[in-house]
């Protein structure tokens, strides 16, 4: 026969498990957002070791999943932040190339580095080839299109 204290402990544990499940749901949503944001470059992993199931998990097992997801979300944010900084730097470089092409001779910035789709590459090239090189006529050209698939 359960006494009042036992009933209270059971109810408290159930409430704690509910709380953990809602935290898991929120973290899973954040991790999914990160995976989608990272597409198509990837680099964000969403695998979290699971205790095996399907079954009702204990408080400790739910905590471990919650912590595993939190780690994954933190890692994903780190990857996305780093990628964002690199893209920002590439955008600044492209702006400088467009403003002063003569100071960035033959510098290349790929669309992928800018976080843009496609295989285009921005490059500072001399206008009219050798003549442009000798005369200092520089321009930014966007090479477009992806290489044909084999």
């Amino acid at each position: 026969m359960l006494d009042v204290r036992d009933v209270r402990v059971i109810a408290d544990e159930r409430a704690a498990r509910m709380q953990l499940r809602s935290q898991i749901a929120a973290l899973e949503a954040q991790l999914s957002d990160a995976v989608v944001s990272a597409f198509p470059d990837g680099g964000v992993h969403s695998t979290v070791p699971a205790p095996g199931g399907p079954r009702l998990l204990t408080l400790g097992e739910l905590e471990r999943i919650r912590d595993g997801l939190a780690d994954r979300v933190a890692q994903a944010r780190g990857v996305l932040e780093e990628r964002g900084e690199r893209q920002e730097a590439s955008r600044v470089l492209l702006e400088r190339m467009l403003l002063e092409p003569g100071r960035h001779k033959f510098v290349r910035v790929a669309n992928r580095d800018l976080g843009a789709a496609g295989c285009g590459v921005w490059q500072v090239r001399p206008r009219l080839g050798l003549v442009g090189m000798l005369m200092g006529w520089w321009q930014v050209k966007l090479s477009s299109g992806c290489p044909l698939a084999c």
Binding site: E28, D33, G53, P54, R55, L69
Partner: protein, 221 residues
């Protein structure tokens, strides 16, 4: 749901499971067993779905409400959805690997259309081999799935789909061999497990759509 639609039957949920997951449901519907050949309409439907389903969608699928609900539930019951894929993600992955939704027979095709269109997985059982309504419960100590020397041991507490006669299937897993539909089946019992966050409308659409496709297939359309 129209008056002509077959009636959906709400299954039972074990008390412990219901307390932990108040929104968890198991719903089923009866449908005729289809013939052996997939009707042209169903094959065309599969091809149309394959055309609309691309790589980017397979990635963004996890952010859609219904697939996301299944991913979350998988985590909450101890499954890693990146190891054991949720049914809709498994279908999406197959689509990418095989370059299309491959027709495998009228029943498999109808189940595939249901999960791809709604995100809600549907399973089929031989109605004649069921004993009472379906429900969800944990496996009891010493319980096995199937009969004879090939029966599989079930870990106590493993969540099962069961009827009065015993385990019918592991949740999101294999159906017991003796309960699967075969070529002698005349009526099927289609069931789905609606996890928290899945709207009732999607559940109805998955089951009734699948039942309708099977009725058409049985009628030879």
């Amino acid at each position: 749901m129209s008056a002509a639609d077959p009636a959906l039957e709400e299954g039972w949920i074990d008390r412990e499971l219901a307390l932990e997951f108040p929104e968890l449901r198991i719903v089923s519907v009866s449908a005729p067993a289809p013939g052996r050949r997939t009707p042209r309409v169903l094959r065309e439907h599969l091809a149309l779905l394959a055309d609309r389903f691309h790589g980017a969608r397979a990635v963004t699928l996890r952010r859609e409400p219904v697939p996301a609900a299944y991913r979350v539930f998988f985590r909450q019951v101890g499954l890693d959805p990146d190891v054991q894929r949720t049914p809709v993600e498994a279908a999406a992955l197959d689509r990418l690997v095989q370059g299309g939704f491959v027709s495998r027979g009228p029943l498999e095709d109808a189940l595939l259309v249901a999960v791809v269109e709604t995100g809600v997985p549907v399973w089929a059982l031989d109605d004649a081999r069921l004993d009472g309504p379906l429900g969800l419960r944990g496996a009891r100590p010493g319980e096995r799935m199937g009969e004879g020397q090939y029966a599989a041991d079930l870990a106590p507490g493993r969540v099962l789909v069961a009827d009065a006669g015993g385990p019918v299937a592991v949740l999101f897993g294999d159906v017991a061999p003796g309960r699967r539909p075969d070529r002698h089946s005349t009526r099927l019992r289609l069931f789905t497990v609606a996890v928290p966050g899945v709207p009732a409308l999607h559940v109805e659409e998955a089951l009734l759509g699948c039942a309708e496709a099977l009725s058409d297939a049985a009628a030879g359309q």
